[in-house]
């Protein structure tokens, strides 16, 4: 069972990556920005796994698993930050967090 050519998988991966990036660039709620980052990473993961299938090696999959862990780590830290921001009674809007500029 072959299914569609791997190119298609990659196209999906690329789309995910792009849409994730779009989210980061577009959204102001830090939560959604974090989610978008997840999407980007997942796009990369999909690419990795596709290629590992293409080469018939498992390295890519291993890499993908590691990435999952790392992504989880980032999420933890990110959520911690968001909570801290919330504690400081600051509005959850990355645009409002622009005291540093120039």
């Amino acid at each position: 069972m072959k299914g569609p050519d791997l190119t298609w998988y990659l196209a999906v991966a690329a789309f995910l990556f792009a849409i994730g990036a779009l989210g980061v660039m577009l959204r102001r709620s830090p939560l959604i920005v974090l989610l978008s980052l997840e999407i980007m990473l997942n796009g990369a993961n999909l690419a990795l796994i596709t290629f590992s299938r293409h080469h018939g090696q498992l390295d890519g999959q291993i890499f993908a698993l590691a990435v999952m862990a790392v992504a989880a780590a980032e999420v933890v830290v990110g959520l911690g930050l968001i909570v801290a921001v919330h504690r400081r009674k600051l509005e959850l809007d990355v645009d409002k967090l622009s005291t540093l500029r120039g």
Binding site: A21, L41, A47, L81, R88, V94, L100
Partner: protein
């Protein structure tokens, strides 16, 4: 029965030692009494860095020729060892700077633990041998730094810096990751040298996927090195983060990012040299232009230094772009005084900050040189070092870097560097001017604390930085020998 590979613990020892220190700090956070916590944790952390230094130098001494270890995941060579020396040294200085920082009492232990962990991660990263270890190492210390930046959660600036760094850093590592994925897809390999072999074997040098992957990886690394145009987070993060952390980031992060970039590009993509040298040169010019021009108009010293660090990334990228032994040597040499003086400079800023209890600007820096002679003199030499004046290591670094570019035949790059140096003079001298030359009326802003605090550790750290800075000029021969043998580990 699974045959686990033999692990060369000795080669990994620098990061392991630091990691061990981190663990002890973490435990001490819970186990030691409050009054003992600060000195104990700081001491352990410093000990970890010292141990790292020792082990790194041992590794350097015991490793005549480079080779890959632990199933080709990491490489053991002198290039990495020298980089680890730089990382550990700057970590040590950072500890000294952090000690008397007015920091939240209840996270001292974690702070030093994270500092040590970050150091360990960097030490690991510089010897990364394949794309996976590269990515993981990068994330390892990045996560630490995210937290360290935001650790002053009472301060909006610190939080903002942390969040910005996290978001942009996440994006950067995603880019890097996707790039590695593409490279993996094109060559089917993760190991650096394996990638090179595969490229040569299947003649992939024209493969667009590989090229795009390379571009993305380069972008990721440039981001970590805060090279324009991937630098925009730098001023904000440096500005908002606690000053000791800023110093550590400025020194160590840049160092490892650039060292790694050189290793990756030279080991994994020798076939593409013609392409990436141009790209790196372009990044260098962009960083020089942007960093210097933006720094001209800064009034907050931390931001000013942040922009200056961007321009220095540009200088070091010149060395990378040279892509020759001399360039590698120049990069390593340049990093030694550079790391010292950036930590030193931020340390001085921290000292002034604690005197005044507000952000340091060129205005309220006035008279500082006369009030605190030692710190003032040190800051003086730091600025001279940044500006590349003689009698400082900064000058020799620039000299070597330009020589490397010239040896490659890129004299135009030398001219660009020279022009950038000229522009940079303006704001470096502005700092000196602020410290020493204000009219008597403006002098002597009384520090809130009355007589300036005696910060033995900070002062000694600053003095150490000054000694490194000046010593690197006079004792250049040994350092050059060090870097020469280190650079020979790279296939340049």
């Amino acid at each position: 029965m699974i045959q686990t590979p033999s692990v060369d613990w000795f080669a990994l020892s620098p990061s392991l030692v630091a990691l061990g220190a981190a663990a002890i700090c973490l435990l001490s956070a819970v186990l030691t009494p409050r009054w003992l916590l600060r000195p104990f944790a700081a001491f352990v952390c410093a000990l970890g860095f010292v141990g790292g230094l020792v082990m790194a130098s041992l590794v350097y001494w015991k490793t005549p020729e480079a080779h890959l270890i632990v199933a080709d995941a990491v490489s053991r060579d002198r290039f990495a060892a020298v980089a680890q020396l730089i990382v550990m040294g700057s970590g040590l200085l950072a500890v000294g700077v952090s000690y008397s920082a007015r920091m939240r009492q209840d996270h001292i232990g974690e702070y030093y633990a994270l500092l040590a962990t970050a150091g360990a991660g960097m030490a690991f990263l510089v010897q990364a041998g394949n794309l996976m270890t590269l990515f993981l190492g990068l994330e390892w210390f990045s996560v630490c730094l995210y937290i360290l930046c935001a650790i002053e959660t009472d301060l909006v600036g610190s939080l903002e810096a942390g969040l910005k760094y996290l978001i942009i850093g996440g994006m950067g590592s995603a880019v890097l990751l996707f790039g590695s994925a593409l490279v993996y897809g094109s060559t089917g390999e993760l190991g650096f040298s394996a990638i090179a072999d595969a490229t040569r074997l299947h003649d992939l040098s024209g493969d667009p996927i590989l090229l795009v992957g390379l571009a993305m990886i380069l972008a990721g690394l440039a981001f970590k090195a805060s090279a324009a145009p991937f630098h925009m987070w730098t001023p904000d993060v440096y500005d908002g983060a606690p000053t000791p952390v800023t110093g550590f980031m400025a020194a160590a992060t840049k160092a490892v990012a650039l060292v790694l970039a050189l290793r990756l590009l030279s080991v994994a993509f020798p076939e593409k040299e013609d392409v990436w040298t141009i790209a790196v040169a372009f990044l260098a010019c962009a960083s020089l232009a942007w960093g210097n021009l933006a720094a001209l108009v800064q009034t907050r010293v931390k931001r000013l230094l942040a922009y200056s660090s961007i321009s220095h990334a540009g200088f070091m990228l010149i060395a990378v772009a040279a892509a020759n032994q001399l360039g590698a040597r120049a990069l390593l040499y340049y990093l030694i005084p550079y790391a010292a003086i950036s930590i030193g400079a931020f340390a001085v800023v921290a000292a002034r900050e604690r005197e005044l209890g507000e952000t340091v600007t060129l205005e309220n820096l006035s008279g500082f040189g006369w009030e605190r002679p030692v710190l003032g003199a040190a800051m003086f030499t730091f600025m001279l070092g940044f500006a590349g004046f003689p009698l400082t290591g900064g000058f020799m670094g620039k000299f070597l870097i330009f020589s490397a570019a010239s040896e490659r035949g890129w004299n135009w790059l030398v001219i660009v560097g020279v022009a950038a140096t000229l522009v940079s003079l303006y704001y470096y001298l502005a700092v000196i001017r602020a410290m020493y030359m204000r009219p008597a009326a403006e002098l002597g802003l009384a520090p809130i604390g009355g007589s300036p605090p005696r910060e033995v550790l900070l002062t000694s750290a600053v003095v150490a930085a000054m000694i490194v800075n000046v010593g690197a000029f006079f004792a250049i021969q040994p350092l050059v020998d060090l870097t020469r043998t280190a650079a020979q580990a790279l296939p340049l």
